[in-house]
């Protein structure tokens, strides 16, 4: 095999990384410029950053509440989907019951359809069907947590199934013989071995819920409004506040970057987990 030139390879990947990171850098550049400078000749190098957008965004009570909503909804949803997905996959992997594979396939097909297809039925469900007196799920955090389950739970089941399938059944059996109860088998053996897969599922479902716009824009008004929908409020009839939008976008990116960085190790392990039985 022909040996590749390491310098060329490194240069190639530096270039690709720059191309990928450039929009993020540019977003940051926009966020630290006052409105008047935005449409002047673009300047690649950052001079005298203007932090006014940041102080305005951080001082804005609405944006803060959007951020809290986003955090609660995406964290709640990711946690719920991961936990439910874990137990569903455990049942699918370890027990034999009629229609097992059909259930698996039927569940993941939910993920195949475009979210817009579910908009009207979900709206009707939230406003008409699931209501107790005056209380409906529309524009509530719990409502949005449940709505995102429509897409994230199938995804969680999809990613966790191979992880649990990859844990030899003999480990469960050995634990049963060693005196473990079914719950102990799950908590002592299966759960710890699933950690990489669970981390991947948690982060990816979290990112989906954090980034989601369409459903949040339609099914929330004020109380459960999320950061992504909050962004659109800065496109007004009098103009678009690019600086503020860019700043909010930076705030949208930060938590995702932090969470991603924290579980990056697990993601790499998780994506290869179960591929080869070790």
């Amino acid at each position: 095999m022909k040996k590749r030139n390491p310098i060329l390879t490194t240069l190639f990947w530096i270039l690709i990384s720059l191309l990928t990171l450039f929009p993020i850098y540019w977003l940051f550049v926009i966020s630290v410029k006052p409105a008047v400078q935005l449409f002047s000749t673009p300047d690649l190098i950052l001079n005298n950053p203007y932090w006014g957008n940041y102080t305005e965004v951080l001082g804005n009570r609405l944006v803060r509440s959007y951020m809290i909503n986003s955090l609660i909804i995406s964290s709640g949803n990711a946690l719920l989907c991961t936990v439910l997905g874990f137990f569903t996959c455990y049942a699918l992997s370890r027990f034999d019951f009629k229609g097992k594979e059909s259930i698996f396939f039927w569940t993941i097909t939910n993920r195949m359809a475009p979210p817009a297809v579910f908009l009207l039925p979900l709206f009707l469900l939230m406003t008409q069907v699931y209501r107790i007196g005056e209380f409906t799920l529309l524009d509530t955090r719990i409502g949005m947590i449940l709505v995102y389950c429509t897409f994230n739970l199938p995804f969680a089941i999809w990613t966790l199934r191979p992880t649990i399938d990859g844990i030899p059944k003999e480990l469960d059996e050995a634990a049963y013989v060693d005196g473990a109860s079914p719950w102990k088998v799950i908590s002592e053996i299966v759960f710890p071995l699933c950690r990489p897969g669970l981390a991947v599922t948690l982060i990816l479902t979290w990112v989906f819920a954090w980034n989601e716009y369409l459903l949040a824009a339609t099914l929330t008004n004020f109380d459960a409004r999320t950061l992504t929908t909050g962004l659109s409020e800065y496109v007004t009839t009098t103009g678009t506040e690019w600086g503020i939008m860019a700043t909010i976008s930076v705030f949208t990116l930060i938590p995702a970057l932090i969470v991603f960085g924290l579980v990056q190790k697990h993601i790499v392990a998780g994506l290869t987990f179960g591929a080869v039985k070790g």
């Binding site: 030899p168 003999e170 480990l171 059996e173 050995a174 634990a175 049963y176 013989v177 060693d178 005196g179 473990a180 109860s181 102990k184 002592e188 053996i189 710890p192 071995l193 070790g278």
Partner: protein, 353 residues
């Protein structure tokens, strides 16, 4: 310690019956080996003993208690799996101590028992390691440690040596046997390797297609196989089989193969003209200048012994001799067979005559 009684055990998977009324009696402290080819049901039977498979019919009792509906953890058994089934995220100490932890034993007791088991198995210097950091033999010993630490009534071994290399297999074989002698606990051991069965067992249960073919001591099975299957399965190299009939020559019974090969037979119940399968173990054939003339096909010297494959017409018969033989393929030699070592089976029923 306890005796184990398997009575008329049947196993069905929906409409397919895989176990057809198996009966095995295992005495207290006995080392019993279930042996048979792949798919004979030996592992299924062991798993039924462990409570990992349900029993469709019949009863299994351990220490006089019927355990058909008792869950594995309440059967007072310990099992060593083929793949060892060590918990990869736990250290050797935690692996061995796991059954005690599940039994809610205090930490001091766990430490004491694990340390003792580790000493017995020469694992005391490896207690902090993870399974992936161990060699095959060490993993095997950890799996055994996890079993002995519980001090169960019965040990179940499911092909525990099949993942080890040949040399280590012999070492571990001795270790398991030694462990049995020391602990005296009843052991049920599954293997497809008849050498393992012969060398380790007090009693061998030979199985085929979900049925017990024969139960007996290793030498009993070797000397008096009940049928062609057991005769062919027990012993290495396998017994030679030649099809033919019993004839009379000069007033004496002889065996005449379908292709005209004449071989000596013992005085037994075989009738004249009865269609039989003639069985002779390779190690019971002597090679020399007198006897049945054969043409050498292949000679396999192993140092300690030599295996000779020779033909008479289309019949290929191999002999295993202690001497070193200089015969070349194509050359002629003679097989001497002592009729006392010959096994005759009815050709139709395949049962011993």
């Amino acid at each position: 310690m306890a005796n184990v009684k398997i009575e008329n055990v049947v196993k069905r998977y929906s409409n397919v019956q895989v176990m057809h009324g198996v009966d095995v009696d295992i005495e207290d402290g006995e080392f019993v080996v279930l042996v048979g080819p792949s798919g004979c049901g030996k592992s299924t039977l062991l798993r039924m003993l462990a409570g990992l498979e349900e029993i469709s019919d019949g009863t299994i009792s351990i220490g006089g208690r019927v355990v058909n509906d008792v869950i594995p953890k309440d059967r007072d058994i310990a099992m060593v799996f083929q793949s060892y089934a060590l918990y990869p995220h736990k250290t050797v100490f935690d692996n061995i101590g796991f059954p005690l932890k599940m039994a809610k034993q205090p930490d001091s007791v766990i430490k004491e028992k694990v340390t003792k088991a580790a000493e017995v198995l020469d694992l005391d210097h490896l207690l902090d390691r993870y399974p992936k950091q161990l060699s095959g033999g060490q993993r095997q010993r950890v799996a055994m440690g996890r079993a002995i630490v519980r001090d169960p009534q019965v040990f179940l071994f499911d092909e525990p040596l099949s993942n080890l290399d040949a040399k280590l297999r012999v070492t571990m074989r001795v270790e398991i046997k030694e462990l049995h002698q020391r602990l005296g606990t009843t052991i049920v051991y599954v293997t497809h390797d008849q050498i393992e069965a012969m060398t380790m067992a007090d009693k061998i249960v030979v199985m085929r297609d979900g049925r017990v073919e024969q139960i007996g001591s290793p030498l009993d099975l070797y000397d008096h196989p009940k049928n062609v299957f057991v005769a062919g399965f027990i012993g290495s190299p396998s017994m030679n089989f030649v099809h033919g009939t019993i004839a009379v020559k000069d007033g004496k019974k002889v065996f005449l193969s379908d292709h005209g090969l004449e071989l000596p037979v013992p005085e037994n119940n075989a009738r004249t003209n009865q269609a039989v399968t003639y069985g002779i173990r390779p190690e019971h054939i002597q090679v020399g200048d007198q006897g049945v003339p054969m043409k050498v096909v292949v000679v396999e010297p192993t140092g300690s012994e030599t295996q000779v494959f020779a033909k008479s017409g289309p019949e290929l018969i191999d002999a295993l001799v202690k001497d070193r033989i200089s015969a070349k393929p194509g050359s002629e030699l003679c097989y001497m067979i002592d009729p006392a070592n010959v096994h005759l089976f009815d050709r139709e029923t395949e049962q011993r005559i």
